[in-house]
């Protein structure tokens, strides 16, 4: 195992252990105690296993999980950012269909291997996006009658 995954394992298992400790703390301190009986049981096991995993990561003895290399992380970041902006901001404030269509088009442009310089590529991307919007609208608004937030646009 290289140093990078080892550090990543320490951070990841450290975060899981921190969540485990927080869950156990809340379970053992909150009232009424009867409501936290089951959470106490599971949080105890949670903490033990999480600390065990963290300890193994600290000692560099983690054998499962390759972590993330810089290239994968760089590939993920733009797409993940678009997805997070879509879900946590745009869907509600721009309207579901507008936001999803924009996100779809941006993701297609970011990850489609076709050359960016060709006009044909952009027309193809726009057509795929329009087709996607039509299908989603037909399925969710037409077939399932789901009323989505429409805010500024639609």
């Amino acid at each position: 195992m290289t140093d990078l995954p080892r550090t990543q394992h320490i951070i990841a298992s450290g975060l899981v252990a921190a969540v485990g400790v927080a869950v156990a703390f809340v379970s053992y301190t909150q009232e009424p105690a009867a409501a936290f009986l089951f959470p106490r049981m599971i949080s105890t096991v949670f903490v033990v296993l999480a600390l065990w995993t963290f300890g193994k990561a600290l000692m560099g003895r983690t054998k499962v999980g390759n972590g993330l290399d810089a290239r994968a992380l760089l590939n993920i970041l733009p797409g993940l950012l678009v997805a997070l902006v879509l879900v946590y901001w745009a869907a509600k404030w721009l309207g579901f269909y507008t936001a999803t269509t924009l996100a779809f088009f941006i993701l297609l442009s970011l990850y489609d291997p076709a050359p960016h310089g060709a006009v044909k590529t952009w027309i193809k991307r726009a057509l795929i996006t329009a087709g996607f919007l039509a299908v989603m609208y037909g399925l969710f608004a037409g077939l399932l009658n789901v009323f989505t937030p429409r805010e500024i646009f639609f």
Partner: protein, 509 residues
């Protein structure tokens, strides 16, 4: 033979149309690399809200069955397994296609899938009522241990680290406690308004299975699929039928192995296909031909991974304990329609239960008939670029999770869980035990509380939960499954170098 009374219900126009839609759609989705059966079923659940319970389950059951079989198309024609269950099919199936026998490989694959699948569903039909009767004897302590068993078995058997598998199960059990406590009405772990009503299972399932796949597609960057689709030439179907039955050894090994593995919670189709392939190879006089385009390899692997489907639903329908992630997703589909599986399912909702099971039987045959016609189209769909697939799945995940309760909170939870799960998976954690914990958590807690009340009134809590033959048997199985997995993990480490482990993980991811 009660199931025969409900056989006609499968053939009503709407039910049959849904069965056809689920089968053909599932075959195409299954062929798409990256769209696992579990994820396909999870994404389909929102489309069942407007349907009657039986209709919704027919659609989900057909999709489950045919996505498993559809994965063989891309395994054979593209050398890319549509799902982990089809890994073993690639070994001989693609070599056959390279030799110009793609149609023969596909025909053998769908015929073997149908034979295995029908046998598996027949097991489901005949075992389920027996187990359901037996399950009537289960009290709260037994149901508590069963729920724990469901989480620990999957936690320890699924994935390569027992500790991380069990830890994933604990995270799922904790997530299930978020919200208001049922007995006292107390708030628990409500750290954001989106989770004030607890974590809804359907958005959670969509997030946990779909979003990591979307991010995995992002991680590949701007790549085009270079796989060449091999052409499918004509091959007489009667020759394929004769060959499947002539290779009865491989068919029997595959079918029996798949059925047995399907009954064991936590052991999925991937294992079934590989174990059947391996056993078939060991018992074949032509073992040297395996890997060179030998039809027995395809027959054993495909009959096994479809034979696993029916039995994997037995613990779900009788004990409410999903034995696999896909069964857990189906449980979500049942609950959303107000159907509670368990010992009284066949008394309270026999029409829903039997129509669903019968549709899976008919679905196996439809899958075989349509599989060959859809194969060419499915192979083309399998070539849809990563970028398009990632954007489509993200869109479906967002709309699907919103449509559950028309709540943005569900979409936030879906995205947060999915993103978190992707990073956890990179560090050896697994979604399956987490999902099982999330689904079985309320069952475990409700029975624990109920059992504690009974124990306080009659005996001590320790005596109630830790004595009696059934309690002790279940505890022994919990301990044995963990011990076995630890032993297997230590053993595989002894014989595997670190480089081999890294290569294996990279190949699987």
């Amino acid at each position: 033979m009660e199931f025969l009374a409900y056989f006609g219900d499968v053939f009503t126009p709407i039910n049959f149309a849904l069965l056809l839609l689920g089968t053909i759609g599932g075959l195409i989705l299954g062929a798409t690399p990256g769209l696992s059966p579990t994820m396909a079923v999870a994404l389909l659940i929102p489309f069942t809200f407007k349907l009657e319970p039986a209709q919704g389950l027919i659609l989900l059951g057909a999709a489950y069955t045919s996505t498993v079989a559809g994965g063989a198309v891309s395994a054979i024609l593209l050398k890319i397994p549509g799902a982990p269950a089809n890994i073993a099919t690639t070994l001989d199936g693609h070599t056959m296609a390279q030799k110009g026998q793609g149609a023969r490989a596909l025909q053998l694959s769908f015929l073997a899938s149908a034979v295995g699948g029908v046998f598996g569903v027949l097991l489901l039909i005949f075992l389920t009522p027996l187990l359901a009767q037996w399950a009537l004897a289960f009290g709260p302590s037994h149901l508590f241990w069963l729920a724990i068993l469901g989480v620990t078995v999957i936690g320890s058997l699924d994935g390569s680290s027992v500790v991380k598998g069990l830890l994933s199960g604990c995270i799922g059990l904790w997530l299930a406690t978020i919200g208001f406590d049922d007995i006292m009405g107390a708030q628990r772990f409500i750290f954001h308004p989106s989770v004030s009503g607890g974590i809804n299972v359907i958005p959670a399932l969509i997030g946990l299975f779909a979003i990591p796949q979307v991010i995995t597609m992002f991680a590949k960057g701007r790549i085009s699929l270079d796989a060449e689709v091999l052409s499918v030439e004509r091959h007489p179907i009667k020759d394929a039928v004769a060959e499947v039955f002539r290779r009865s050894r491989a068919l029997t090994i595959g079918t029996l192995t798949g059925s047995i593995i399907g009954l064991i919670p936590g052991v999925g189709g991937q294992i079934a296909g590989l174990v059947a392939y391996d056993q078939s190879k060991k018992m074949s006089p032509e073992r040297d031909k395996f890997g060179t385009g030998h039809s027995e390899g395809v027959i054993a692997a495909e009959s096994a991974n479809n034979a696993m489907v029916g039995p994997s639903l037995v613990p779900l329908l009788t004990l409410s304990i999903p034995g696999s992630p896909t069964a857990a997703v189906l449980l979500g589909g049942l609950l959303i329609h107000g159907i509670f599986p368990g010992s009284d399912l066949f008394d309270n909702n026999p029409d829903v239960a039997w129509t669903f099971i019968n549709s899976m039987l008919i679905g196996q045959i439809l899958m075989c008939v349509f599989g060959l016609y859809v194969a060419g189209l499915a192979a083309r769909v399998a070539q849809v670029p990563n970028a398009v697939m990632a954007a489509i799945v993200l869109g479906l995940a967002v709309f699907g999770s919103y449509s559950v309760q028309n709540s943005m909170g569900d979409v936030y939870v879906m995205m947060a869980l999915g993103t978190g799960m992707y990073f956890l998976e990179r560090f050896g954690f697994s979604a399956a035990p987490l999902v099982l914990g999330l689904i079985l958590g309320p069952i475990a807690e409700a029975n624990f509380i109920q059992g504690s009340m009974i124990a306080n009134a009659t005996s001590s809590v320790g005596q109630y939960f830790f004595t009696g033959p059934l309690n002790l048997t279940l505890i022994a199985v919990v301990v044995a499954s963990i011990a076995y997995s630890v032993w297997m993990e230590l053993r595989s480490r002894r014989y595997t170098t670190k480089e081999d482990a890294v290569k294996k993980e990279e190949a699987l991811s």
